[in-house]
Protein backbone atom coordinates (compact mmCIF):
# COMPACT_ATOMS: atom_id res chain seq x y z
CA UNK A 1 0.00 0.00 0.00
CA UNK A 2 2.75 2.37 0.79
CA UNK A 3 4.74 1.63 -2.31
CA UNK A 4 3.78 4.03 -4.97
CA UNK A 5 5.83 2.61 -7.74
CA UNK A 6 7.75 -0.54 -7.59
CA UNK A 7 9.93 -2.20 -10.07
CA UNK A 8 9.21 -5.61 -8.75
CA UNK A 9 6.32 -5.97 -11.14
CA UNK A 10 8.45 -5.18 -14.15
CA UNK A 11 9.98 -7.98 -16.13
CA UNK A 12 13.72 -8.20 -15.87
CA UNK A 13 15.34 -5.89 -18.36
CA UNK A 14 16.59 -8.00 -21.26
CA UNK A 15 20.21 -7.85 -22.33
CA UNK A 16 19.16 -6.29 -25.60
CA UNK A 17 17.98 -3.12 -23.94
CA UNK A 18 21.20 -2.77 -22.02
CA UNK A 19 23.16 0.28 -23.07
CA UNK A 20 26.11 -1.98 -23.79
CA UNK A 21 24.18 -3.84 -26.43
CA UNK A 22 24.96 -1.80 -29.52
CA UNK A 23 28.70 -1.63 -28.81
CA UNK A 24 28.58 -5.33 -28.12
CA UNK A 25 27.11 -6.03 -31.55
CA UNK A 26 29.83 -3.95 -33.12
CA UNK A 27 32.52 -5.92 -31.35
CA UNK A 28 30.89 -9.17 -32.47
CA UNK A 29 30.65 -7.95 -36.05
CA UNK A 30 34.27 -6.88 -35.96
CA UNK A 31 35.28 -10.31 -34.74
CA UNK A 32 33.28 -11.86 -37.54
CA UNK A 33 34.90 -9.58 -40.10
CA UNK A 34 38.36 -10.47 -38.86
CA UNK A 35 37.44 -14.15 -38.74
CA UNK A 36 36.20 -14.04 -42.32
CA UNK A 37 39.42 -12.30 -43.35
CA UNK A 38 41.48 -14.90 -41.58
CA UNK A 39 39.64 -17.70 -43.28
CA UNK A 40 39.96 -16.18 -46.73
CA UNK A 41 43.49 -14.81 -46.69
CA UNK A 42 46.47 -16.56 -45.15
CA UNK A 43 48.46 -14.32 -42.87
CA UNK A 44 45.54 -12.03 -42.23
CA UNK A 45 45.13 -12.99 -38.62
CA UNK A 46 48.78 -12.54 -37.73
CA UNK A 47 49.53 -10.42 -34.70
CA UNK A 48 51.43 -7.86 -36.74
CA UNK A 49 48.48 -7.27 -39.01
CA UNK A 50 46.38 -6.58 -35.94
CA UNK A 51 49.02 -4.21 -34.62
CA UNK A 52 49.17 -2.56 -38.01
CA UNK A 53 45.48 -1.81 -37.63
CA UNK A 54 46.41 0.26 -34.62
CA UNK A 55 49.58 1.74 -36.06
CA UNK A 56 47.97 2.81 -39.31
CA UNK A 57 44.85 4.16 -37.67
CA UNK A 58 46.38 5.81 -34.63
CA UNK A 59 45.65 9.29 -35.93
CA UNK A 60 42.10 8.33 -36.87
CA UNK A 61 41.55 6.94 -33.41
CA UNK A 62 42.65 10.18 -31.80
CA UNK A 63 40.37 12.19 -34.06
CA UNK A 64 37.49 9.82 -33.42
CA UNK A 65 37.97 10.25 -29.68
CA UNK A 66 37.58 14.01 -30.02
CA UNK A 67 34.69 13.50 -32.40
CA UNK A 68 33.00 11.22 -29.86
CA UNK A 69 32.87 14.05 -27.37
CA UNK A 70 31.43 16.39 -29.94
CA UNK A 71 28.84 13.91 -31.15
CA UNK A 72 27.89 12.91 -27.62
CA UNK A 73 27.13 16.55 -26.95
CA UNK A 74 24.82 16.58 -29.95
CA UNK A 75 27.18 18.46 -32.25
CA UNK A 76 29.46 17.56 -35.10
CA UNK A 77 32.93 18.68 -36.13
CA UNK A 78 33.74 18.62 -39.82
CA UNK A 79 36.95 20.57 -39.46
CA UNK A 80 39.09 17.81 -37.94
CA UNK A 81 40.64 16.56 -41.17
CA UNK A 82 41.69 20.05 -42.16
CA UNK A 83 42.98 20.88 -38.70
CA UNK A 84 45.05 17.73 -38.91
CA UNK A 85 46.49 18.88 -42.20
CA UNK A 86 47.09 22.35 -40.80
CA UNK A 87 48.96 20.86 -37.86
CA UNK A 88 51.25 18.84 -40.10
CA UNK A 89 51.87 21.99 -42.04
CA UNK A 90 52.61 24.07 -38.95
CA UNK A 91 54.93 21.41 -37.57
CA UNK A 92 56.77 21.00 -40.83
CA UNK A 93 57.08 24.70 -41.46
CA UNK A 94 58.31 25.59 -38.00
CA UNK A 95 60.75 22.71 -37.93
CA UNK A 96 62.13 23.21 -41.41
CA UNK A 97 62.08 26.97 -41.72
CA UNK A 98 62.50 28.28 -38.22
CA UNK A 99 64.26 25.23 -36.78
CA UNK A 100 62.40 25.49 -33.51
CA UNK A 101 62.88 22.70 -30.98
CA UNK A 102 60.49 19.85 -31.75
CA UNK A 103 58.75 19.79 -28.37
CA UNK A 104 58.01 23.49 -28.61
CA UNK A 105 56.67 22.96 -32.10
CA UNK A 106 54.39 20.20 -30.90
CA UNK A 107 53.20 22.38 -28.05
CA UNK A 108 52.42 25.25 -30.38
CA UNK A 109 50.64 22.98 -32.83
CA UNK A 110 48.47 21.48 -30.13
CA UNK A 111 47.65 24.92 -28.78
CA UNK A 112 46.69 26.16 -32.23
CA UNK A 113 44.39 23.17 -32.71
CA UNK A 114 42.74 23.66 -29.34
CA UNK A 115 42.30 27.37 -29.92
CA UNK A 116 40.86 26.78 -33.34
CA UNK A 117 38.34 24.37 -31.84
CA UNK A 118 37.55 26.69 -28.97
CA UNK A 119 36.90 29.53 -31.38
CA UNK A 120 34.45 27.40 -33.31
CA UNK A 121 32.84 26.24 -30.09
CA UNK A 122 32.43 29.82 -28.96
CA UNK A 123 30.78 30.77 -32.25
CA UNK A 124 28.49 27.78 -32.02
CA UNK A 125 27.45 28.56 -28.51
CA UNK A 126 27.36 32.32 -28.33
CA UNK A 127 25.90 32.97 -31.75
CA UNK A 128 23.70 29.87 -31.63
CA UNK A 129 25.04 28.77 -35.01
CA UNK A 130 24.78 25.27 -36.39
CA UNK A 131 27.82 23.16 -35.57
CA UNK A 132 27.64 21.62 -39.01
CA UNK A 133 28.02 24.96 -40.74
CA UNK A 134 30.54 26.52 -38.40
CA UNK A 135 32.82 23.51 -38.59
CA UNK A 136 32.29 23.26 -42.33
CA UNK A 137 33.54 26.81 -42.68
CA UNK A 138 36.30 25.88 -40.23
CA UNK A 139 37.20 23.04 -42.53
CA UNK A 140 37.60 25.40 -45.49
CA UNK A 141 39.51 27.86 -43.38
CA UNK A 142 42.03 25.37 -41.99
CA UNK A 143 42.64 23.89 -45.43
CA UNK A 144 43.03 27.34 -46.88
CA UNK A 145 45.52 28.29 -44.17
CA UNK A 146 47.61 25.26 -45.14
CA UNK A 147 47.99 26.64 -48.63
CA UNK A 148 48.82 30.04 -47.29
CA UNK A 149 51.74 28.49 -45.41
CA UNK A 150 52.86 26.64 -48.49
CA UNK A 151 51.24 24.87 -51.37
CA UNK A 152 54.09 22.43 -51.57
CA UNK A 153 54.51 19.54 -49.26
CA UNK A 154 57.28 20.05 -46.74
CA UNK A 155 59.42 17.14 -45.69
CA UNK A 156 60.27 16.96 -42.01
CA UNK A 157 63.88 16.10 -41.29
CA UNK A 158 63.97 16.92 -37.62
CA UNK A 159 65.79 14.08 -35.85
CA UNK A 160 63.25 13.86 -33.05
CA UNK A 161 60.37 13.41 -35.45
CA UNK A 162 62.38 11.01 -37.57
CA UNK A 163 63.30 8.98 -34.51
CA UNK A 164 59.70 8.79 -33.35
CA UNK A 165 58.64 7.88 -36.83
CA UNK A 166 61.00 4.97 -37.03
CA UNK A 167 60.92 3.68 -33.50
CA UNK A 168 59.34 0.30 -33.22
CA UNK A 169 58.42 -0.87 -29.79
CA UNK A 170 58.81 -4.64 -29.88
CA UNK A 171 56.09 -6.83 -28.45
CA UNK A 172 57.11 -10.45 -28.89
CA UNK A 173 58.40 -10.64 -32.41
CA UNK A 174 55.98 -7.98 -33.54
CA UNK A 175 56.11 -4.27 -32.94
CA UNK A 176 53.94 -1.27 -32.31
CA UNK A 177 54.62 2.39 -32.95
CA UNK A 178 54.84 5.15 -30.35
CA UNK A 179 52.00 6.87 -32.19
CA UNK A 180 49.70 3.94 -31.58
CA UNK A 181 50.58 4.01 -27.89
CA UNK A 182 49.87 7.72 -27.67
CA UNK A 183 46.52 7.13 -29.33
CA UNK A 184 45.63 4.39 -26.87
CA UNK A 185 46.62 6.56 -23.94
CA UNK A 186 44.46 9.35 -25.33
CA UNK A 187 41.58 6.91 -25.58
CA UNK A 188 41.97 5.78 -21.99
CA UNK A 189 42.13 9.33 -20.70
CA UNK A 190 39.08 10.26 -22.74
CA UNK A 191 37.14 7.29 -21.39
CA UNK A 192 38.03 8.36 -17.88
CA UNK A 193 37.03 11.94 -18.55
CA UNK A 194 33.75 10.96 -20.15
CA UNK A 195 32.64 8.61 -17.44
CA UNK A 196 34.26 9.76 -14.25
CA UNK A 197 34.42 13.52 -14.34
CA UNK A 198 31.71 16.16 -14.09
CA UNK A 199 32.91 17.61 -17.39
CA UNK A 200 32.31 14.29 -19.09
CA UNK A 201 28.88 13.91 -17.60
CA UNK A 202 27.97 17.45 -18.58
CA UNK A 203 28.71 16.45 -22.17
CA UNK A 204 26.17 13.66 -21.93
CA UNK A 205 23.67 15.96 -20.30
CA UNK A 206 24.01 18.55 -23.04
CA UNK A 207 23.63 15.82 -25.62
CA UNK A 208 20.51 14.57 -23.87
CA UNK A 209 18.83 17.94 -23.68
CA UNK A 210 20.76 21.15 -23.83
CA UNK A 211 17.90 23.25 -22.54
CA UNK A 212 17.50 21.00 -19.52
CA UNK A 213 21.21 20.99 -18.88
CA UNK A 214 21.06 24.75 -18.76
CA UNK A 215 18.04 24.71 -16.46
CA UNK A 216 19.78 22.22 -14.20
CA UNK A 217 22.49 24.75 -13.73
CA UNK A 218 25.28 23.12 -15.66
CA UNK A 219 27.93 25.30 -17.22
CA UNK A 220 26.75 24.73 -20.73
CA UNK A 221 28.73 27.52 -22.34
CA UNK A 222 32.04 26.50 -20.83
CA UNK A 223 31.43 22.84 -21.54
CA UNK A 224 30.53 23.39 -25.15
CA UNK A 225 33.52 25.57 -25.86
CA UNK A 226 35.71 23.01 -24.13
CA UNK A 227 34.24 20.15 -26.15
CA UNK A 228 35.17 21.77 -29.43
CA UNK A 229 38.50 22.82 -28.02
CA UNK A 230 39.11 19.21 -27.06
CA UNK A 231 38.12 18.06 -30.52
CA UNK A 232 40.46 20.62 -32.04
CA UNK A 233 43.17 19.47 -29.66
CA UNK A 234 42.61 15.85 -30.66
CA UNK A 235 42.72 16.81 -34.32
CA UNK A 236 46.00 18.60 -33.70
CA UNK A 237 47.37 15.66 -31.73
CA UNK A 238 46.32 13.44 -34.59
CA UNK A 239 48.16 15.87 -36.84
CA UNK A 240 51.29 15.45 -34.77
CA UNK A 241 50.95 11.67 -34.95
CA UNK A 242 50.37 12.03 -38.65
CA UNK A 243 53.57 14.05 -38.91
CA UNK A 244 55.41 11.24 -37.17
CA UNK A 245 53.76 8.81 -39.51
CA UNK A 246 54.34 10.69 -42.75
CA UNK A 247 57.24 12.97 -41.87
CA UNK A 248 55.77 15.70 -43.97
CA UNK A 249 53.43 18.62 -43.86
CA UNK A 250 50.98 18.97 -46.69
CA UNK A 251 47.77 20.81 -47.40
CA UNK A 252 46.21 17.82 -49.08
CA UNK A 253 46.77 15.46 -46.17
CA UNK A 254 43.88 13.59 -44.63
CA UNK A 255 41.14 14.69 -47.00
CA UNK A 256 37.78 13.33 -45.95
CA UNK A 257 39.08 12.10 -42.62
CA UNK A 258 36.22 13.85 -40.87
CA UNK A 259 33.76 11.50 -42.51
CA UNK A 260 35.87 8.49 -41.54
CA UNK A 261 35.90 9.71 -37.98
CA UNK A 262 32.16 10.30 -37.92
CA UNK A 263 31.56 6.89 -39.43
CA UNK A 264 33.87 5.29 -36.87
CA UNK A 265 32.10 6.96 -33.98
CA UNK A 266 28.69 6.00 -35.25
CA UNK A 267 29.69 2.43 -36.01
CA UNK A 268 31.06 2.33 -32.50
CA UNK A 269 27.52 2.73 -31.27
CA UNK A 270 27.25 6.45 -30.55
CA UNK A 271 24.06 8.16 -31.61
CA UNK A 272 24.59 11.17 -33.85
CA UNK A 273 21.72 12.91 -32.16
CA UNK A 274 23.80 13.02 -29.02
CA UNK A 275 23.64 11.76 -25.49
CA UNK A 276 23.96 8.05 -26.07
CA UNK A 277 27.12 6.05 -26.58
CA UNK A 278 30.57 5.28 -25.28
CA UNK A 279 33.90 6.85 -26.08
CA UNK A 280 35.37 3.35 -26.23
CA UNK A 281 33.12 2.80 -29.23
CA UNK A 282 35.53 5.00 -31.18
CA UNK A 283 38.12 2.24 -30.97
CA UNK A 284 35.80 -0.44 -32.31
CA UNK A 285 34.61 1.88 -35.02
CA UNK A 286 38.13 2.73 -36.11
CA UNK A 287 39.13 -0.92 -36.07
CA UNK A 288 36.14 -1.83 -38.19
CA UNK A 289 37.06 0.75 -40.82
CA UNK A 290 40.70 -0.34 -40.68
CA UNK A 291 39.76 -3.99 -40.97
CA UNK A 292 37.65 -3.28 -44.04
CA UNK A 293 40.57 -1.54 -45.71
CA UNK A 294 43.03 -4.26 -44.76
CA UNK A 295 40.65 -6.87 -46.07
CA UNK A 296 40.46 -5.08 -49.39
CA UNK A 297 44.25 -4.72 -49.58
CA UNK A 298 44.68 -8.42 -48.82
CA UNK A 299 42.20 -9.33 -51.49
CA UNK A 300 44.09 -7.24 -54.00
CA UNK A 301 41.82 -7.88 -56.96
CA UNK A 302 39.31 -5.10 -56.59
CA UNK A 303 39.24 -2.24 -59.03
CA UNK A 304 39.07 1.24 -57.66
CA UNK A 305 35.32 1.43 -58.03
CA UNK A 306 34.78 -1.96 -56.52
CA UNK A 307 36.76 -0.80 -53.52
CA UNK A 308 34.29 2.02 -53.00
CA UNK A 309 31.30 -0.21 -53.54
CA UNK A 310 32.59 -2.83 -51.13
CA UNK A 311 33.31 -0.23 -48.46
CA UNK A 312 29.81 1.12 -48.92
CA UNK A 313 28.32 -2.36 -48.75
CA UNK A 314 30.21 -3.26 -45.58
CA UNK A 315 29.16 0.02 -43.99
CA UNK A 316 25.62 -0.81 -44.95
CA UNK A 317 25.78 -4.28 -43.45
CA UNK A 318 27.23 -2.89 -40.25
CA UNK A 319 24.64 -0.22 -39.84
CA UNK A 320 21.74 -2.45 -40.73
CA UNK A 321 22.72 -5.38 -38.55
CA UNK A 322 23.38 -3.04 -35.67
CA UNK A 323 20.11 -1.29 -36.17
CA UNK A 324 18.01 -4.42 -36.62
CA UNK A 325 19.52 -6.06 -33.58
CA UNK A 326 18.85 -3.03 -31.40
CA UNK A 327 15.35 -2.70 -32.75
CA UNK A 328 14.69 -6.30 -31.90
CA UNK A 329 16.13 -5.63 -28.52
CA UNK A 330 13.97 -2.78 -27.42
CA UNK A 331 11.15 -2.63 -29.84
CA UNK A 332 8.80 -0.01 -28.65
Amino acid sequence: MSTVVNTSGLPARPITSSPYFTPLITVLLLAMLLGAGGAAYPGFLSLQVMFNLLIDNAFLLVIAVGMSFVILSGGIDLSVGSVLALTTMICAYMLQTWHLPPLLVIGIALAVGALFGAAMGAMIHYFKLQPFIVTLAGMFLARGLCYLISINSITIEDPFFVALSQTQLPIGDCFISPGALIALVTLVIAIYVAHCTPFGRAIYAIGGNEQSALMMGLRVARTKVLIYAFSGFCAALAGVLFSFYMLSGYGLHAQGTELDAIAAVVIGGTLLSGGYGYVAGALTGVLVLGAIQTLIAFDGTLSSWWTKIVIGALLFIFCVVQRVMTMRGNKK
Binding site: I151, Q166, Y250, A254, I296, G300, T301, S304
Partner: protein, 295 residues
Protein backbone atom coordinates in the same frame (compact mmCIF):
# COMPACT_ATOMS: atom_id res chain seq x y z
CA UNK B 1 58.06 -21.87 -60.18
CA UNK B 2 55.69 -19.83 -58.12
CA UNK B 3 54.39 -16.83 -60.05
CA UNK B 4 55.84 -13.47 -59.14
CA UNK B 5 53.62 -11.48 -56.76
CA UNK B 6 53.53 -7.71 -57.07
CA UNK B 7 51.68 -5.48 -54.66
CA UNK B 8 50.59 -2.30 -56.38
CA UNK B 9 49.12 0.66 -54.58
CA UNK B 10 47.32 2.99 -56.93
CA UNK B 11 46.45 6.59 -56.08
CA UNK B 12 42.82 6.21 -57.01
CA UNK B 13 40.63 6.51 -60.04
CA UNK B 14 40.33 10.25 -60.13
CA UNK B 15 40.82 10.70 -63.85
CA UNK B 16 40.70 8.92 -67.16
CA UNK B 17 44.44 9.07 -67.24
CA UNK B 18 44.63 7.19 -63.98
CA UNK B 19 42.16 4.59 -65.16
CA UNK B 20 44.21 3.98 -68.27
CA UNK B 21 47.24 3.64 -66.04
CA UNK B 22 45.49 1.03 -63.88
CA UNK B 23 44.21 -0.90 -66.85
CA UNK B 24 47.65 -0.96 -68.42
CA UNK B 25 49.23 -2.34 -65.28
CA UNK B 26 46.54 -4.95 -64.73
CA UNK B 27 46.66 -6.10 -68.35
CA UNK B 28 50.42 -6.30 -68.39
CA UNK B 29 50.44 -8.37 -65.21
CA UNK B 30 47.90 -10.76 -66.61
CA UNK B 31 49.76 -11.14 -69.84
CA UNK B 32 52.99 -11.89 -68.03
CA UNK B 33 51.41 -14.32 -65.62
CA UNK B 34 52.27 -12.16 -62.65
CA UNK B 35 49.98 -12.14 -59.63
CA UNK B 36 48.98 -8.55 -58.97
CA UNK B 37 47.74 -7.39 -55.59
CA UNK B 38 45.99 -4.15 -56.36
CA UNK B 39 44.89 -1.61 -53.80
CA UNK B 40 43.17 1.70 -54.45
CA UNK B 41 44.08 4.46 -52.03
CA UNK B 42 41.28 6.84 -53.01
CA UNK B 43 43.70 9.75 -53.14
CA UNK B 44 44.83 9.29 -49.57
CA UNK B 45 48.43 8.90 -48.62
CA UNK B 46 47.58 7.18 -45.38
CA UNK B 47 45.63 4.55 -47.31
CA UNK B 48 48.66 3.93 -49.45
CA UNK B 49 50.81 3.45 -46.40
CA UNK B 50 48.26 1.01 -45.03
CA UNK B 51 48.22 -0.89 -48.30
CA UNK B 52 52.01 -1.09 -48.39
CA UNK B 53 52.05 -2.34 -44.81
CA UNK B 54 49.59 -5.04 -45.71
CA UNK B 55 51.71 -5.98 -48.73
CA UNK B 56 54.66 -6.37 -46.41
CA UNK B 57 52.55 -8.49 -44.10
CA UNK B 58 51.60 -10.63 -47.07
CA UNK B 59 55.23 -10.94 -48.11
CA UNK B 60 54.78 -10.04 -51.75
CA UNK B 61 57.86 -10.23 -53.99
CA UNK B 62 57.84 -6.66 -55.23
CA UNK B 63 55.97 -3.56 -54.12
CA UNK B 64 55.15 -0.85 -56.62
CA UNK B 65 53.16 2.29 -56.07
CA UNK B 66 52.27 5.69 -57.46
CA UNK B 67 52.78 7.98 -54.50
CA UNK B 68 50.02 10.49 -53.85
CA UNK B 69 52.57 12.86 -52.36
CA UNK B 70 56.32 13.12 -52.61
CA UNK B 71 57.17 13.25 -48.95
CA UNK B 72 56.51 11.06 -46.01
CA UNK B 73 57.58 7.65 -47.23
CA UNK B 74 60.69 6.99 -45.19
CA UNK B 75 59.19 4.93 -42.42
CA UNK B 76 57.12 2.52 -44.38
CA UNK B 77 59.78 2.06 -47.06
CA UNK B 78 62.25 1.22 -44.33
CA UNK B 79 59.88 -1.46 -43.15
CA UNK B 80 59.75 -2.83 -46.67
CA UNK B 81 63.50 -2.79 -46.89
CA UNK B 82 63.81 -4.61 -43.60
CA UNK B 83 61.46 -7.24 -44.98
CA UNK B 84 63.67 -7.44 -48.07
CA UNK B 85 60.97 -6.41 -50.47
CA UNK B 86 62.16 -4.19 -53.32
CA UNK B 87 60.09 -1.13 -54.10
CA UNK B 88 59.43 0.43 -57.50
CA UNK B 89 57.88 3.85 -57.87
CA UNK B 90 55.67 4.65 -60.80
CA UNK B 91 54.44 7.91 -62.19
CA UNK B 92 55.54 10.18 -59.35
CA UNK B 93 58.77 10.41 -57.41
CA UNK B 94 59.27 10.36 -53.66
CA UNK B 95 61.47 12.43 -51.48
CA UNK B 96 63.36 10.13 -49.12
CA UNK B 97 66.54 10.56 -47.15
CA UNK B 98 67.98 7.28 -48.33
CA UNK B 99 67.67 6.64 -52.07
CA UNK B 100 68.31 2.94 -51.57
CA UNK B 101 64.81 2.67 -50.17
CA UNK B 102 63.51 2.16 -53.68
CA UNK B 103 65.16 0.41 -56.57
CA UNK B 104 63.72 2.28 -59.47
CA UNK B 105 61.43 5.09 -60.47
CA UNK B 106 59.45 4.73 -63.63
CA UNK B 107 57.43 7.66 -64.82
CA UNK B 108 57.05 10.95 -66.50
CA UNK B 109 58.62 14.22 -65.57
CA UNK B 110 55.94 16.78 -64.88
CA UNK B 111 58.30 19.71 -64.96
CA UNK B 112 59.48 18.60 -68.33
CA UNK B 113 55.89 18.39 -69.52
CA UNK B 114 55.36 21.96 -68.46
CA UNK B 115 58.55 22.96 -70.27
CA UNK B 116 57.42 21.24 -73.43
CA UNK B 117 54.15 23.08 -73.35
CA UNK B 118 56.07 26.29 -72.84
CA UNK B 119 58.48 25.56 -75.64
CA UNK B 120 55.68 24.92 -78.06
CA UNK B 121 54.23 28.29 -77.20
CA UNK B 122 57.57 30.03 -77.57
CA UNK B 123 57.93 28.47 -81.03
CA UNK B 124 54.42 29.47 -81.91
CA UNK B 125 55.00 33.01 -80.76
CA UNK B 126 57.76 33.35 -83.26
CA UNK B 127 55.15 33.21 -86.02
CA UNK B 128 53.74 36.50 -84.82
CA UNK B 129 56.85 38.16 -83.48
CA UNK B 130 55.28 41.51 -82.72
CA UNK B 131 52.13 40.52 -80.96
CA UNK B 132 52.02 40.15 -77.21
CA UNK B 133 50.29 36.93 -76.24
CA UNK B 134 48.21 37.07 -73.09
CA UNK B 135 48.01 33.75 -71.34
CA UNK B 136 45.51 32.37 -68.89
CA UNK B 137 46.35 29.25 -66.96
CA UNK B 138 44.07 26.57 -65.54
CA UNK B 139 45.93 24.89 -62.74
CA UNK B 140 45.33 21.45 -61.42
CA UNK B 141 44.31 20.73 -57.84
CA UNK B 142 45.98 23.24 -55.55
CA UNK B 143 49.14 21.81 -54.09
CA UNK B 144 49.21 18.60 -56.12
CA UNK B 145 52.54 17.61 -57.64
CA UNK B 146 51.52 17.69 -61.31
CA UNK B 147 49.93 21.10 -60.84
CA UNK B 148 52.99 22.53 -59.14
CA UNK B 149 55.47 21.02 -61.58
CA UNK B 150 53.57 21.78 -64.75
CA UNK B 151 53.23 25.36 -63.65
CA UNK B 152 56.90 25.52 -62.76
CA UNK B 153 58.14 24.05 -66.04
CA UNK B 154 55.93 26.28 -68.11
CA UNK B 155 56.88 29.43 -66.25
CA UNK B 156 60.55 28.54 -66.52
CA UNK B 157 60.39 28.52 -70.30
CA UNK B 158 58.26 31.59 -70.87
CA UNK B 159 60.00 33.61 -68.17
CA UNK B 160 62.51 35.29 -70.43
CA UNK B 161 60.01 36.14 -73.13
CA UNK B 162 58.57 39.61 -72.85
CA UNK B 163 55.93 38.88 -75.45
CA UNK B 164 54.33 36.18 -73.33
CA UNK B 165 52.34 37.53 -70.47
CA UNK B 166 50.49 35.56 -67.83
CA UNK B 167 47.17 37.29 -67.20
CA UNK B 168 45.32 34.99 -64.83
CA UNK B 169 45.96 31.73 -63.14
CA UNK B 170 43.29 29.85 -61.22
CA UNK B 171 42.64 26.27 -60.24
CA UNK B 172 40.24 24.17 -62.24
CA UNK B 173 40.71 21.10 -60.05
CA UNK B 174 41.61 18.98 -63.08
CA UNK B 175 37.92 18.63 -63.98
CA UNK B 176 35.89 19.58 -67.02
CA UNK B 177 33.15 21.33 -65.11
CA UNK B 178 35.53 23.51 -63.13
CA UNK B 179 37.64 24.18 -66.19
CA UNK B 180 34.61 25.47 -67.98
CA UNK B 181 33.40 27.52 -65.04
CA UNK B 182 36.73 29.21 -64.44
CA UNK B 183 37.23 29.89 -68.12
CA UNK B 184 33.84 31.56 -68.26
CA UNK B 185 34.93 33.85 -65.47
CA UNK B 186 38.23 34.58 -67.22
CA UNK B 187 36.44 35.45 -70.40
CA UNK B 188 34.06 37.78 -68.64
CA UNK B 189 36.86 39.49 -66.75
CA UNK B 190 39.44 39.75 -69.52
CA UNK B 191 37.30 39.47 -72.61
CA UNK B 192 39.10 39.47 -75.92
CA UNK B 193 42.46 40.12 -74.32
CA UNK B 194 43.07 36.43 -73.86
CA UNK B 195 45.21 34.88 -76.58
CA UNK B 196 46.39 31.64 -75.05
CA UNK B 197 45.00 29.09 -72.67
CA UNK B 198 47.34 26.75 -70.89
CA UNK B 199 45.53 23.96 -69.07
CA UNK B 200 47.27 21.51 -66.80
CA UNK B 201 45.27 18.64 -68.20
CA UNK B 202 43.07 17.80 -71.15
CA UNK B 203 39.86 17.64 -69.19
CA UNK B 204 40.07 21.24 -68.05
CA UNK B 205 41.02 22.24 -71.59
CA UNK B 206 37.96 20.47 -73.00
CA UNK B 207 35.71 22.23 -70.51
CA UNK B 208 37.34 25.55 -71.25
CA UNK B 209 36.96 25.04 -75.00
CA UNK B 210 33.20 24.82 -74.49
CA UNK B 211 33.25 28.04 -72.51
CA UNK B 212 35.20 29.75 -75.27
CA UNK B 213 32.74 28.57 -77.89
CA UNK B 214 29.77 29.67 -75.84
CA UNK B 215 31.36 33.09 -75.54
CA UNK B 216 31.27 33.31 -79.29
CA UNK B 217 35.00 32.86 -79.84
CA UNK B 218 36.85 30.19 -81.76
CA UNK B 219 39.07 27.99 -79.63
CA UNK B 220 42.26 27.10 -81.42
CA UNK B 221 42.09 30.27 -83.48
CA UNK B 222 41.00 33.24 -81.41
CA UNK B 223 42.50 31.61 -78.38
CA UNK B 224 45.32 29.10 -78.64
CA UNK B 225 44.74 26.10 -76.41
CA UNK B 226 47.61 24.12 -74.93
CA UNK B 227 47.10 21.18 -72.65
CA UNK B 228 48.79 18.15 -71.19
CA UNK B 229 48.03 14.41 -71.06
CA UNK B 230 47.01 13.42 -74.56
CA UNK B 231 43.80 11.54 -73.86
CA UNK B 232 41.41 10.59 -76.63
CA UNK B 233 39.15 13.56 -76.03
CA UNK B 234 42.07 15.87 -76.68
CA UNK B 235 42.74 14.22 -80.02
CA UNK B 236 39.14 14.62 -81.02
CA UNK B 237 39.31 18.28 -80.11
CA UNK B 238 42.49 18.67 -82.12
CA UNK B 239 40.90 17.01 -85.13
CA UNK B 240 38.04 19.45 -84.83
CA UNK B 241 40.59 22.24 -84.74
CA UNK B 242 39.72 23.42 -81.25
CA UNK B 243 42.85 22.39 -79.44
CA UNK B 244 46.30 23.33 -80.69
CA UNK B 245 48.59 20.97 -78.90
CA UNK B 246 48.66 18.38 -76.18
CA UNK B 247 51.80 17.26 -74.41
CA UNK B 248 51.70 13.56 -73.87
CA UNK B 249 51.87 12.13 -70.41
CA UNK B 250 51.90 8.44 -70.95
CA UNK B 251 49.90 6.32 -68.53
CA UNK B 252 50.71 3.01 -70.20
CA UNK B 253 53.39 2.02 -67.74
CA UNK B 254 52.29 -1.59 -67.34
CA UNK B 255 54.69 -3.45 -69.62
CA UNK B 256 57.68 -1.43 -68.50
CA UNK B 257 56.78 -1.92 -64.87
CA UNK B 258 56.45 -5.68 -65.24
CA UNK B 259 59.80 -5.83 -66.94
CA UNK B 260 61.53 -3.94 -64.17
CA UNK B 261 59.78 -6.03 -61.55
CA UNK B 262 60.98 -9.25 -63.16
CA UNK B 263 64.51 -7.94 -63.37
CA UNK B 264 64.48 -6.83 -59.77
CA UNK B 265 63.13 -10.17 -58.59
CA UNK B 266 65.76 -11.98 -60.61
CA UNK B 267 68.42 -9.86 -58.96
CA UNK B 268 69.41 -8.10 -62.15
CA UNK B 269 70.50 -4.48 -61.86
CA UNK B 270 67.92 -1.94 -62.99
CA UNK B 271 68.30 1.75 -63.75
CA UNK B 272 67.32 4.07 -60.94
CA UNK B 273 65.27 6.28 -63.25
CA UNK B 274 63.24 5.13 -66.20
CA UNK B 275 61.53 7.89 -68.10
CA UNK B 276 58.46 6.92 -70.03
CA UNK B 277 58.40 7.46 -73.74
CA UNK B 278 56.44 10.59 -74.38
CA UNK B 279 55.98 13.11 -77.11
CA UNK B 280 54.20 16.29 -78.01
CA UNK B 281 51.21 16.09 -80.31
CA UNK B 282 50.35 19.26 -82.15
CA UNK B 283 46.99 19.44 -83.92
CA UNK B 284 48.60 18.74 -87.30
CA UNK B 285 49.39 15.15 -86.42
CA UNK B 286 46.24 14.47 -84.49
CA UNK B 287 44.24 12.82 -87.23
CA UNK B 288 47.09 10.49 -88.03
CA UNK B 289 47.75 9.59 -84.40
CA UNK B 290 44.15 9.21 -83.34
CA UNK B 291 43.67 5.57 -84.38
CA UNK B 292 46.75 4.59 -82.32
CA UNK B 293 45.49 6.04 -79.10
CA UNK B 294 44.63 3.50 -76.47
CA UNK B 295 43.15 5.81 -73.84
Amino acid sequence: AKPLVIGFSQVGAESEWRTANTVSIKDAAKKEGITLKFADAQQKQESQVKAIRSFIAQRVDVIAFSPVVESGWDTVLREAKRANIPVILTDRAVNVSDPSLYVSFLGSDFVEEGRRAGRWLVERQKKTPDAVLNIVELQGTVGSAPALDRKKGFEEVIAGNSKLKMLRSQTGDFTRAKGKEVMEAFLKAEGKKINVLYAHNDDMAIGAIQAIEEAGLKPGKDILVISIDGVKGAFEAMIAGKLNVTVECNPLLGPQLMQIARDVAAGKPVPKRVVTQESVFPAEVAAKEFPNRKY
